[in-house]
Symmetry: C2
Subunit: 405 residues, 2 copies
Amino acid sequence: MPVGLKAPVSLRPVPGVRVATAALGGRSRPRDDLTLFEIVDGASCAATFTRNAFCAAPVTVAREHLARAVPRYLLVNAGNANAGTGTRGIEDARRCCAIVAEATGAPAETVLPFSTGVIGEPLSTERFENAVPNVARALRPDGWLDAAGAIATTDIVPKGVSRSVALAGGTATITGIAKGSGMIRPDMATMLAFIATDAAVAADTLRSIAKDAVESSFNRITVDGDTSTNDACVIVATGALGNPPVREGSADLPALTAAIGEVALELAHAIVRDGEGATKFVTVAVEEGGSRAECLDVAWTVAHSPLVKTALYASDANWGRILAAVGRAGLADLDLSRIRIWLNGVCIVSAGGRDAAYTEAAGTEAVSREEIVIRIALGRGEAHDRVWTCDFSHQYVTINAEYRT
Amino acid sequence: MPVGLKAPVSLRPVPGVRVATAALGGRSRPRDDLTLFEIVDGASCAATFTRNAFCAAPVTVAREHLARAVPRYLLVNAGNANAGTGTRGIEDARRCCAIVAEATGAPAETVLPFSTGVIGEPLSTERFENAVPNVARALRPDGWLDAAGAIATTDIVPKGVSRSVALAGGTATITGIAKGSGMIRPDMATMLAFIATDAAVAADTLRSIAKDAVESSFNRITVDGDTSTNDACVIVATGALGNPPVREGSADLPALTAAIGEVALELAHAIVRDGEGATKFVTVAVEEGGSRAECLDVAWTVAHSPLVKTALYASDANWGRILAAVGRAGLADLDLSRIRIWLNGVCIVSAGGRDAAYTEAAGTEAVSREEIVIRIALGRGEAHDRVWTCDFSHQYVTINAEYRT
């Protein structure tokens, strides 16, 4: 069950964005699985995509379209990733955009397609022919909560966040939704996340805000180390607020950057909290590194270790597995005698072994909580970084052994 | 249960080596967990150790002793790794060697200590004081089978192999034993493996033979991607056969190299077949790579993917997960349209998507077998390499969640 995560009760509309959902049909249990976002003309948009070399067809098409036009429509289907589908997949993704263009009158290149779900099955574009005109007619400002549900696949809880931030030109709204709970180890990109604000933001400034937000949120989480073929994060600034566009040097830039970053981080954490089979939410914080890169090497190695993750699942303060993972992270000249490790503030390792004051009772108490911080001090420098992950449970195996059945 | 693996019925003695086992005591279920090997004077010996930066105390001491003397005794305890035990761990490992020295009259630096088991618990050297004199008195040529059992921890099946090879000076025997089924992703080293031959081999030649044997066997397997703190492989050539020592240029070198390599590979496969929770034995063979390094990058990424491993467990031919893993292996300019993937000879992927002739029935049949070969052709060059792994089951989680309880 999700760790400390509840479904959002409401999500605030973002002036300049309308959203609707519909069912493509053909599921044994009917549910909405098609989402259409409409973005007002004149908005700016920043998008980040998976670095998996085998990106899905919709990612390829979305990149092409982004290079040619500012997006007006985002079309998202859940259940079929349209990945590993060859040239037919590309044609199908283009056809989906054309269907939106026909229903809305907008050029096809202003439509970005997104797909998530099973890899390797062809899309049924006939279902899009039927559903898209309906979803286009249903577009409305307050469709975000439905969209948070409609983009989900193995997610147990829909994920969405709203924030306000006071800018010179008025109070801006930021609303974002995301999906993802397996095949999660975003690499310079994300699973699906859509964030919008009504603030006006210069296009290059929005790209810079998006880059920072993604780097410190979605690019710092892992469930299973598997980078999806379909990851994408889109951040839209509609400008409907009418504020003077935020750009480099604007007094509003720090507050807006922080607020968008918070939305991205809360969504990223929600993905981990709803990670497949998760029973714990785990922060791996590495400090005193010689560089951020080596802090991340250590943090990812610990966060991906099946032995560490199964011990956390069992509430077993098996600090030897954490130490062993740090030791295989590939850092040259690592000095064991300088390493210190804490579990929720309880020092478990110092001077190359179990801390002298450590007791198994204190360690077990710390690791029994749902929220666990593994803090690792390397004693090599000033750099630090952190990643978030979940534990590894029987339920993870069940979910992924039965995914296609 | 182990995949296609049975316990050895007998292991042939190696002239020049005597072995015995004993119980250190203190276990809830009594079993032999202490092993002593005696190696005849004048043997040559090659040893490889873990590259985990936090190597265990016995590894540190074994390296020191190896640098000073040719080993005469190998002392192995199972159940306590003596890792993460700080300076006390080093003192304890030295004390264990001293105890052997006192019991045998050999210098302490001719004793190599090996430990495997839980990380972070101090050793009870008193138990060694009691047990070592007994085990030293019990040394005998035919103790190998008992030793295969006594070095085991979570292993379900003891692992041992005997081979003969005809050399110019007579027929040499090679016998080896190994242990390991979790925290297995040897990095230029191995879990515990002990291999001996009665052939005479020049020391530098034996080191070269050992390097090749380890590189293509123990360094090509993974169960869970976690490199142990205690991995070690020792290969001993006693010379008791009386053959002219095998050295560079000897006519016997190819046959001996091949035979030792076969023993190492069979032991490495046995570790995977008995991998924690394993229900399948999986070969990941990558070919048509631009270099061996990139073939290995792809092979390890596939072999470590929890999504691939859970799908194999479920006998689900979820080739999209294999394709996604290949895509995140970090190869620059990977051309999806050239990739082909086979499951036990059934082509599942070609030209960027599901192979035109592929049927789900054929894929399911292939992946339902206990022995699975995932063959991946990259279409980039002539290089190839392969690794071995197992699937990821509920039982893996159970074993590792309950390891210390």
